[in-house]
Symmetry: C2
Subunit: 333 residues, 2 copies
Amino acid sequence: MDTQKPYVIGVDLGGTNTVFGIVDARGDIVAQDSIKTQAYKTADAFVEAGVECLKPLIAQVGGLDKIAGMGIGAPNANYYTGAIEYAPNLSWAHDGVVPLAQMFSDRLSTLAPCSSPLAPLKVRITNDANAAAMGEMTYGVARGMKNFIVITLGTGVGSGIVINGQLVYGHDGFAGELGHVKVDHSANARLCGCGRHGCLEAYCSATGMARTAREMLQLSEQPSLLREKNPDDIESIDVFLAAQQGDEMAKGIFNYTGFTLGEACADFAAFSSPEAFIFFGGLCKAGDLIMKPIEEAYNRSVMPIFRGKAKFLVSSLMNANAAVLGASALAWE
Amino acid sequence: MDTQKPYVIGVDLGGTNTVFGIVDARGDIVAQDSIKTQAYKTADAFVEAGVECLKPLIAQVGGLDKIAGMGIGAPNANYYTGAIEYAPNLSWAHDGVVPLAQMFSDRLSTLAPCSSPLAPLKVRITNDANAAAMGEMTYGVARGMKNFIVITLGTGVGSGIVINGQLVYGHDGFAGELGHVKVDHSANARLCGCGRHGCLEAYCSATGMARTAREMLQLSEQPSLLREKNPDDIESIDVFLAAQQGDEMAKGIFNYTGFTLGEACADFAAFSSPEAFIFFGGLCKAGDLIMKPIEEAYNRSVMPIFRGKAKFLVSSLMNANAAVLGASALAWE
């Protein structure tokens, strides 16, 4: 680390808010602010607003020459090109390629006084699951690990894969989409948002789990607290609350979700044999309800050579700032 | 490359023969000999015989100080430890851990004259599919590629995965077992030799394809040249010969095998998004019969973001010496 530049900028670019944080080497966020992601008509206007938001934060830590770099976690981000490419949920990036890293770098360099121009700030960008993996390696439970996989369980299922201490971007910058590996090859496998059938995400995201709940309610006569709700309104949180009250069907839904994840992890082991699988996101808050069936299914299913070797961990960065930290970790590289 | 040491030793350690080759930087095998792998009661005796076999080959290129290193491709080999671990098909290694790399290094160093002792020869070991991947990257169709996957289609299905220009060994040295990723999650999925159900290998190895042939013959009334054989005697070569004569059922068996491989590759793309999938081994000799359905199924199944991007290639090292070349490539690292 450059001791002259003790801070990095981490940016969590989400569908609603974009959070900017100044982060030190221990993973403490020393300054933070945010803007509305979609309040801008063009990418230029968004970057302009972002830099305005950053100005006072940067001033607070002593100016741009205290900043070693900037990392952005964003949907449909390509690490290699530094661009957001055709992001369906971003108004200013849904129908084209936005070279966001370069745009921020250019715009930030104008902040330096003309009398002492700085080298352009290095800005890196990747998707949020990859950023989460970088965050775990830099500040979280994966410190010291060279081979691990982060699986994010949210509205979708994302992943960040680290092999030999490096994030896996693949040939085109889009590797690490483990939410879209098939876990059901049958004719009636669930349709996934990506267009494939039987993807992990269709079963083990929060929405996938709610879908499992609706299917189980329909297919069985088992009594359940979940029957008190309109099936269409059931969310994963309802399954969690019911399971906490000992509801057998709700526990069964967690078992099924965990089983499906564990079986998928057994396939991932055959690929990269990681030291640990690290889970991140809302569903992990269910703790053993989800983690136990994952680990049990894994060790039952995995090739004997891998059995009992992998750790199953929950992210230690599970708070509102995890995404900012993850993105900032990109900038230390 | 060390121009003082223009050669490496490549060793193809198979269940029947162990072939030793001296290889130059262009991938030419300048000297070669072999011993019977299982003619020895102990690993010590095997190494002793191997070094005796190597002596005249090494002398032929000017002595041990012309050799930059040695690479061994062997079953159940662990790159990290340099050992063969519990190899069921090797009489002298089936119930223990044999530190073969160290044993060869120690034994070979005694060949140097006492008057001019040499630094110990670096000996590396890995499984044959990983060696094949190294061979493709060093001498074959993957020259210049940083991200690709070699899939070997033989009695089993093996794989060697390269990411960021490095072979993927995983946390424990045993990564890259793509033959044991599930392609069928149904209750009647085929049992694989590894103990899992529904593995790629149970469908797309030579034996898996023969099994498909037997199942198709039983399940349908379709006329086929394959009906002239006792079903238990059908091998993949019979399917190939029938398909070459235009037999529809045989072509269907290739389509099914290729479809299953292509679907699996679509999952692998979600993992590491490789530039190319490179196929190696007997089944590839069927050419378009197998390669076309692989590529078609892949592009139909894969996530839109990856569609049309990956190359589907057949190894350019498909000859008797490919395994020796692959192993030798380890030694240049």
